[in-house]
Each structure stands twice: as C-alpha cells, then as structure tokens.
C-alpha cells in the first residue's frame, strides 16, 4: 500500500503548494512509523438493496437519507464496508500530541491519507470480485456525507460484527473508535457510467480547506 505524499500535504492545508524539506522528511518518517506499528483491517459484506422515496433498505436495515438513496440509485445490491488502522495509530497520535505537536499534526495527516489509501486498495479488490459478476462499484458513501446521518454508524458496525472482528466501535456520539477508521455503503451496479465521481466534487462544502482542485 502506497500512501500519496501529496494527499498528506493536502490534509496539512498546503492547497497544492510544494512541501518544505523538513515537513517532507517528517512525512516520510511518520509514514514509516505508522507502517511499523499498525495492521490495517477491513470487513465487507454484500446485501440486497431496496429503495423507496427518501430511504434505502440495505440487508434489512432501513436508512433514511435522500443523498444515500440518490447515491446508490439503480443498485440492486450494496456492500457494507468498514476499515480501521487500529488502536496503535491513536496511541501514537496521543503520544506526539504531548511531546511534539508538529509531528502530531503530520502524523494525523499521514494516518488520514493512509486509511484512505488502504480503503482504496480494498475497494479495488472488491471491484475485481464484482466485475466477475458484471457489476461496478459506486464510490464509498459514509455516514456524515450529505444527509446520511451519523447515527447509522452503529447499524453498519453491527451488520459486519466490527467490534469482535476488527476491534472497531462507535462512541455514544457516533464517532468511530479507533479514530482512523472508515465505514461506508458501496453501491453495486450493472451500469458503468458515473461510477467514479470525485468525492470533493460531489460535496456541498465549497470553502473546505481540503477541497481538491
């Protein structure tokens, strides 16, 4: 798994400007430290999808969200997906937050880029499996995107038995713990068009400092 350093810089707010030598050096060493102490893990499971106005039912679990509904429009199946870098990444972050804040923010950006790169890799594997059945993947759609409520974290985690299998849980306020984690619904569709909408382009937050392009 290769983590793109430009992504790390983007998370650090460089907005396309080149990184300075010391920051780039720190990025390399943070990525190495993270790779040495984390074992990324993921789970997925494919469920049938039923759509209705303003909601979808995935594997028997009804989720109210117009945006998710629109996102997986036309899909008969969807994969529920979860991935995490695990607890050690959080420990490192806490540790550097007390000893070296500049390294902490770089490590934070590296771990964010790393979990994304890992998810992309896992989804490519999924896409390979789906292709054998003539199906294509829609991009990952996570609780918190658009009007897809965060409270569905709990349902998604339960559908995959995440706590037991990969140690991934949610807090009472539906934040994932360990924090460097992702849950998502991925539509499977027979039509190839519009399958790779850039996440940023689809997002309503026009002034986000991390926005691509």
């Amino acid at each position: 798994m290769e983590t793109d350093k430009n992504e790390v810089l983007r998370y650090l707010g460089y907005r396309g400007k080149p990184g300075d030598a010391r920051t780039l050096e720190q990025i390399d060493s943070c990525l190495a430290e993270l790779s040495a102490c984390t074992v990324p893990r993921s789970l997925h499971r494919v469920f049938p999808v039923e759509a209705e106005p303003g909601a979808v039912t995935v594997g028997g679990v009804r989720m109210e969200s117009r945006d998710l509904r629109r996102h997986i429009d036309g899909c008969k199946e969807a994969a529920v997906f979860a991935a995490t870098l695990g607890a050690p990444a959080d420990l490192l972050l806490r540790r550097y937050s007390t000893t070296d804040m500049s390294r902490a923010v770089i490590l934070q950006a590296c771990s964010a880029a790393m979990i994304e790169a890992y998810c992309d890799g896992q989804c490519e594997l999924l896409a390979g499996q789906a292709a054998k059945r003539g199906l294509f993947l829609r991009p990952r759609y996570s609780p918190g995107y658009g009007d897809f409520p965060l409270r569905y974290q709990k349902e998604l985690l339960a559908m995959l038995d995440c706590q037991k299998k990969i140690g991934l849980t949610a807090t009472d306020s539906f934040m994932l713990a360990p924090s460097k984690s992702v849950t998502a619904v991925i539509g499977l569709t027979a039509e190839q068009k519009s399958c790779h909408i850039a996440k940023c382009m689809d997002c309503k937050s026009q002034n986000c400092p991390f926005r691509k392009g």
Binding site: K17, G19, L91, R94, S102, Q163, S173
Partner: protein
C-alpha cells in the same frame, strides 16, 4: 460436578457456537441474539441439548452481549435476558452433570482513552451481568472474546467483586499472538493471573491450527489451567456470507493435539456445531490433562507487554517523583500533565523498562492526581508502571485503574504495612517491592535485613502471594554517613539472591547522597550491586554514566549476547542531539523552528537579560512573524508548530529562570475543551500550544467535556475566556449548550469556537463571541481581549 475439583483430573469440554446455530434458525444480520432467550426459549434450549448430546460438560449461555449498553432499545432488561438465558441452559442440563457458564462478552465499546467508556462504567455493566448470572444459578462465569486487556480487567474485577463463582477468561488473539489493542500473550497472562482468574485461554478469531501454535507461548508464561475454544477455521467470505471450512474430523484432530499440548478445557467458537463437538469429545476423551507448568517468573506488565525480572537488569525510571525536584512540585501543583507525560516519554526513550510514578505532595489531592497520572501515562506509554505512594488508599485507587500487573512500591516489615498492602496485591495482582525495615528501623547488618525479608515473604504467603511476586530492596544508604553502608547492602543482596531466592531492587543513587559528582559513585556502585545479584534499579535513565555502566555490565556478564547491544549503542556515537548551531539568534531559531538552538540561544541570552524581557522582546516578536506568514499562506501548519515547539523550549528555560528569581509571567487564564461527545482533540491541542507560547495559562479540560464541568471551572477559577472545539455537526449541539450555560452563569466570560464543521455564520448562530478559523485566530482574539 464440582468444577474446580474436576478441573485437571480429566479433560473438560465446552460446547460450540451459539450464534452460528441461531443464524441457521433465522437470526438476521446485525440482529441481537440475546433477546431470543425470551422470544424463542425453546430454540435456545434445543441448541443446548444438541451440545449436551455431543458430550459437552459446560454450556455457554446465550448472554454474550446481554449488557445494558447493547440491550438498550430492545425493550428487555439485563436481568430478564440473563435469567432466561441461564434458565434455558439449566433446563437442558437438568438430570445431567453438565455445568452452566454465564457467558460474558465485550461491551461493544472501547474504553477511554481509545473510546468513551469509563473504566468504572465498564465494571458496572459487567457487574450487572455477573450478578444476574449468579442469581439465576450459573455455575461459573466465562468472560470471552476479549480483545482489550483493560476491558478484560474490568470484567474480571466485576465478576470477582460481585459473585463467588469461578471465573474463566478467554481472549481473542491474531496469528502473531497479538490482541487487537496491541497487547501480547505474556502481558495478558500476567494481568489475568494477577487478578486471580481460575483459567485463561483463547477463543474466536482463529481456527484450531493457529491456536495450536500459540498454545506453547501461553504455557510458557501461565501457571493456571488453560481453555482453548477456536473457530471452525479462519472465516472466509462467500457471496457476502461468512463460512468456516474446518470439518468436524479436522477440528477434532487439531483439538486432540491442543489437549495433549496442555489445554485442560476445550470447546468451540464461531462456526463449530454439535458435530464438531461430538467428534472432538470422541477423540480427546482419552487424553489426560498435562501437569500445570510451574513458573517462578517475576513479571509485571503494561497493557502491551510484560517485563520479566532476572535476565538483563531492569531499569526503573525515577524521574516522576517530586522529592527534591522543584520543577516537578510546581508541575503537580499546576496540574501540568503534559510536563509529566513528557518526563515519561523521555525516560522510555532513554531506555527505562518501568516507570516509577510518585505524585505525593502535602498540598494536593494525591488520589486524584495519581489516578490522573496513571491514566494519562498508560494512554501514551506502553511500559509497566511502578505505583509509588505511602498511602494505601492512593495505592488501591491506582492499582484498580492500572491497565496491567503493576509494580507496587512498597511494603515493608511493619505489621501495619503488610496488613494494608498485601490484600491489595492479592486482589489486583502485582509484584511488590519489599523494603527491609520494620518497627525497629533499618537493621545495620546484612543478616538483619535478610531476616526482615524472610518475615515479609512468609507473611505474603499467608495472604496467598507467592515469593516470585516479592522483590526485596535491602536499602542503599549513603556512604557519606557511614562507609560500611555499601558493603552491608551488597552482602544483603547476595544473601537474598542465594539463600532466599528472591529478586532484588535498589534506589541506587541513595548511596552517594552528600557527595560531589554523584554519578561517578552511583555508576560504580550499580556495577558492584549487579555483580552481587541485583535484579532491578530505580535510577535516572537520562544519566549517561548509569546507562553505560549497565550496558558494560551486560557485555561483561554475558547477558548481552555477543555484545550486540553494546556495539549497536556505542560503535557510532550518533545518538547525541545535533549540536545547536553556533551564533544563531533566538529570533532566527524560533522562526526556523529549531528547538535545540532556541533552547541554547535562550540560555545564553538569559545570562544577562531578564527573563520577562527575553519573552517580550525576542520570543513573542518571532512568533508574531511566523504567525503572520502562516496567515498569509507562505508557511504552513507543520512549520508554524515547529516554531511553536522551538518557542516552547525557550519559554521553558525562561520559566525555570523566572522561578529562581521569584518573578512570574503575568498570565491570563484560558480554558480549552473539546465539547461533550467529541473525542477528536488535535485541533484543540494545536491551539493550546500556541496560546501557551503567548504566555497564557491554559487550563486544558481535555475532550468529551460536559458543559457543567466547563462552567464550574470557569466560575471556580474566574476565567474570562473559554475556547471550545467541535468536529462533527452532531457535537456542535453540545457546543451550543455549553455556550448557553456559560453565558448564563458567567456573563463576563467570552467564548471562542473553532473546528472542522464550524463557519463564522454557524458560530454566530450558536452565540459564540468569536470564531477562529485556525490557531492563530485564537491567539489574535485572546490578545485583543486581554490587550496582550
């Protein structure tokens, strides 16, 4: 059948999977199985009967997730679900000798600081289940599928405190022998044995083949009976369904090897069926339980790893102790936890194996401070801790929340000391440092100290504490008060090691008290003590002399195989920090973000410039410059923070100087907190570093902070500015509530807010006084408010 009497006389058999069987009967994905105890009791009872028919001795109740947290919203209580679950198993077992195990799985949440569940809340959830299980008539408690040592500790404590049932514990490891939270087998075994689990072992996650390979590692470090309940192989996903491939025949064959390898109780987990269990019982019935291994290992542990006494010298870092340390006293009074944590990290980086934690000062609440120090240290450092306090109350509070098997500092030969400390060691686990002094003081002879050690070991045995868990400290006393002091201590070490067979520890540096250049004497005495059998030293890991004495001793004694460590450490003396660039000004060092240079430039300046002048004319202007460049977008967050770290190093020097000349920086207080429900605190921490650079006294309340606590702190300490951070739209609600309460209770207090989802408009809507788009924004607002 009496469980504890039968255990070890013949092999005992657990049943197999419940969830797998229920899925076949129609349990949906993500549906909770436990309420089926009430809605489908006959199905549950039937599954138990099938396992009984297969030959199981112990039935696991369908109560894995029957805790208040997981059952919330399903309309039934823990007591109902557990009672029905135990009843179904008992009904099936009626008329047989089979036993019913109250099954307790994880809460489904992560404990703080990883997640938001407090340790005592976890204890409460487990206690409720355990009590309900005992009341319903369970014969034992099985705590299973645990992947976090800390949660597992909460469960075992709850079971032990609330029931009289035997407690078995099985945890879930990966193929490398690691828990999901990073702990290894030795650490988990030390913790669980210390807590008095009646049997420990593995379940779930792996198949029997993988567990077979982990079993010898558990046998190496565990003296209690072992339980092995594997899955029917590694799970595989076929068209979205999880399947397990190991057939009953293959399963039974591996289980036979596992039984022959030393497990006393075997059974199955996910994917196993009555056929698997029947085949396993048939093949294993003739296997006689192997004798329990007896280990005399002296071991302490953190959540992640175990430290064993007896090989290389164990180095116990002594720096977190206010005795004789002015700066640390100030740190404790100001509750500057970051300083304390940095001391811990620095000692680990310098090579400490264990960290001593002593936070006793007459004017502070030691219990509160100790709990906080232990909690925060174990949140970022994976070394075992040595709890150092003279108060039994503080000791108990610390041992309770400590995530591992602690080193207890200390007990001594006084009746009162042993009476108060040994029960704690027995209950919570631990190895204890035993000082050779009693009601009559410190004996002057080696034999006298040996006699006290013998008495302590004997008394410990009466409490059920083994000799291996006693580490004797025969006390080093300064040779400046009596030159024979060294010889007496060394002779005592020899006696203790050879005649009593215990491990030993010394506060080595006491030997040189009152002498100049103490490191010289300390290092020489350290080597002499090691040569006389010393196992551990409480010392300053930052001392070069002590570290090289230790490394040289290991090379000379053969403890360092082929001198590899010695060579690695000393062949290239590259570990020295880069020397600070000569002649670079404090201003430039800060702008360029050079920490060491800033430190030495500040030291040089302070020789003839008053500290306050250094701060106001050099430090702050440099920071302002960097801040402006950041705001203009010509430099970025990592660089801003490198400068901030450099400024902090300079500030720390100035502050020490200020302390000595009796001045203090005029500091306005600012509260920072991440609001309730929000556990992401990196943004808040960035703001904190910068505000501290500008001499503000930041009261950091941490994350997930309830509004009431913020209001109370603002009132108690008359704080005029509060900074709140929130990351998610869901937690902005808590932010709004906090602002409402603050404005009502303390109208003269301003609130500034920031965080990923906030905008100036949003901030205004929730009535914040100011919105900061980044950390510099927060500094600017604070400066405008306080006229800084």
């Amino acid at each position: 059948m009496n469980l504890l009497n039968t255990l070890g006389k013949r092999l005992l058999f657990f049943d197999g999977a419940m969830g797998t069987m229920l899925q076949e009967r129609g349990l949906g994905p993500g549906e909770q199985p436990e309420p089926w105890n009430l809605t489908h009791p006959e199905v549950i009872c039937d599954i138990h009967r099938q396992y009984l028919a297969a030959g199981a001795d112990i039935l696991k109740t369908n109560t894995f997730g029957a805790n208040r947290e997981k059952l919330s919203g399903c309309g039934c209580s823990v007591r109902e679900v557990v009672a029905a679950g135990v009843a179904a198993a008992k009904k099936a077992a009626k008329g047989t000798s089979a036993l019913v195990a109250m099954d307790i799985g994880p809460t489904g949440k992560l404990l703080k600081p990883m997640g938001d569940l407090a340790f005592e809340e976890a204890c409460g959830l487990f206690a409720e289940m355990a009590r309900a299980g005992e009341q319903a008539g369970a014969d034992l408690i099985l705590i299973e599928t645990m992947s976090d040592c800390y949660e597992c500790k909460a469960a075992v404590l709850a079971a032990k405190e609330n029931t009289n049932l035997p407690v078995f514990v099985t945890m879930i490891f990966d193929e490398g022998g690691k828990l999901l939270t990073g702990g290894d087998i030795a650490a988990a075994a030390a913790l669980l044995e210390g807590l008095g689990a009646d049997a420990v072992g593995f379940n779930c996650g792996l198949g029997p083949e993988q567990m077979k390979h982990l079993l010898p590692r558990l046998r190496e470090c565990c003296s209690v009976p072992i339980v092995v309940n594997p899955n029917a192989g590694l799970p595989r996903s076929v068209e979205g369904r999880t399947v397990f491939d190991v057939t009953p025949g293959e399963f039974a064959a591996s289980m036979e090897e596992i039984a022959a390898g030393g497990a006393w109780v075997v059974g199955g987990c996910c994917g196993t069926t009555p056929e698997h269990i029947a085949e396993m019982v048939r093949r294993c019935r003739a296997v006689a339980p192997a004798p329990l291994p007896r280990h005399d290992r002296t071991v302490v542990s953190s959540y992640a790893k175990a430290v064993v006494f007896g090989g290389r010298p164990v180095l116990i870092g002594e720096r977190i102790n206010p005795t004789g340390k002015k700066r640390l006293k100030q740190v404790l009074r100001e509750q500057d936890m970051d300083y304390l944590l940095r001391e811990g990290v620095a000692q680990q980086e310098a090579g400490a194996d264990i960290l001593d934690v002593n936070v006793g000062l007459p004017e502070i609440d030691e219990t509160k401070m100790m709990i906080r120090a232990v909690t925060e240290l174990q949140g970022i450092i994976d070394l075992p801790l040595q709890i150092d306090t003279s108060s039994p109350e503080v000791m108990e509070a610390a041992l309770r929340i400590y995530n591992g098997k602690a080193l207890v500092n200390s007990v001594n030969g006084k009746e009162e000391s042993m009476r108060s400390i040994f029960p704690l060691v027995k209950k919570y686990g631990g190895a204890v440092i035993a000082l050779t002094l009693d009601e009559n003081g410190i004996p002057e002879t080696a034999e006298g100290r040996f006699a006290i050690a013998e008495k302590i070991v004997g008394t410990a045995a009466e409490y059920g504490i083994e000799k291996k868990d006693i580490i004797v400290d025969p006390l080093a006393m300064t040779i400046s008060a009596g030159q024979e002091n060294a010889a007496v201590t060394l002779a005592a070490l020899r006696l203790l090691r050879e005649k009593l067979g215990v491990h030993t520890s010394l506060g080595v540096s006491n030997i040189s008290f009152g002498l100049p250049q103490r490191d010289n004497i300390n290092a020489a005495f350290f080597v002499m003590a090691l040569q006389n059998g010393l196992s551990a030293a409480i010392m300053n890991p930052n001392s070069q002399a002590m570290r090289s004495a230790c490394a040289s001793f290991c090379a000379l004694s053969g403890a360092d195989d082929r001198c590899m460590d010695y060579i690695a450490r000393y062949s290239e003396q590259k570990n020295e920090p880069a020397p600070a660039a000569e002649g670079i000004s404090l201003h430039d060092a800060i702008v360029k973000g050079l920490k060491e240079s800033a430190h030495s430039a500040a030291e040089a300046l302070l020789a003839d410039t008053p500290p306050l002048e250094v701060i106001s004319t050099r430090l702050i202007p440099a920071l302002d410059l960097v801040g402006r460049q950041f705001e203009k977008g010509t430099l970025f967050l990592p660089q801003l923070l490198m400068s901030a770290e450099a400024a902090k190093a300079a500030f720390e020097v100035s502050r020490t100087k200020l302390g000595t000349c009796g001045e203090s920086v005029k500091k306005n207080k600012i509260i920072l907190a991440t609001v309730k429900g929000d556990v992401h605190d990196i943004g808040k921490n960035i703001v904190k570093v910068l505000l501290e650079n500008y001499s503000y006294n930041v009261i950091d309340l941490g994350r997930d902070v309830p509004p009431e606590r913020i209001v109370k702190t603002a009132l108690d300490q008359d704080v005029k500015l509060v900074g709140l951070s929130a990351l998610m739209t869901t937690t902005v609600v808590s932010m709004e509530e906090t602002i409402r309460q603050l404005h009502r209770a303390k109208p003269d207090c301003s609130v500034m807010v920031g965080g990923a989802v906030l905008t100036p408009e949003y901030a205004e809507m929730i009535h914040a006084d100011s919105y900061s788009k980044d950390a510099m924004g927060a500094v600017r607002y604070a400066n405008s408010l306080f006229g800084g």
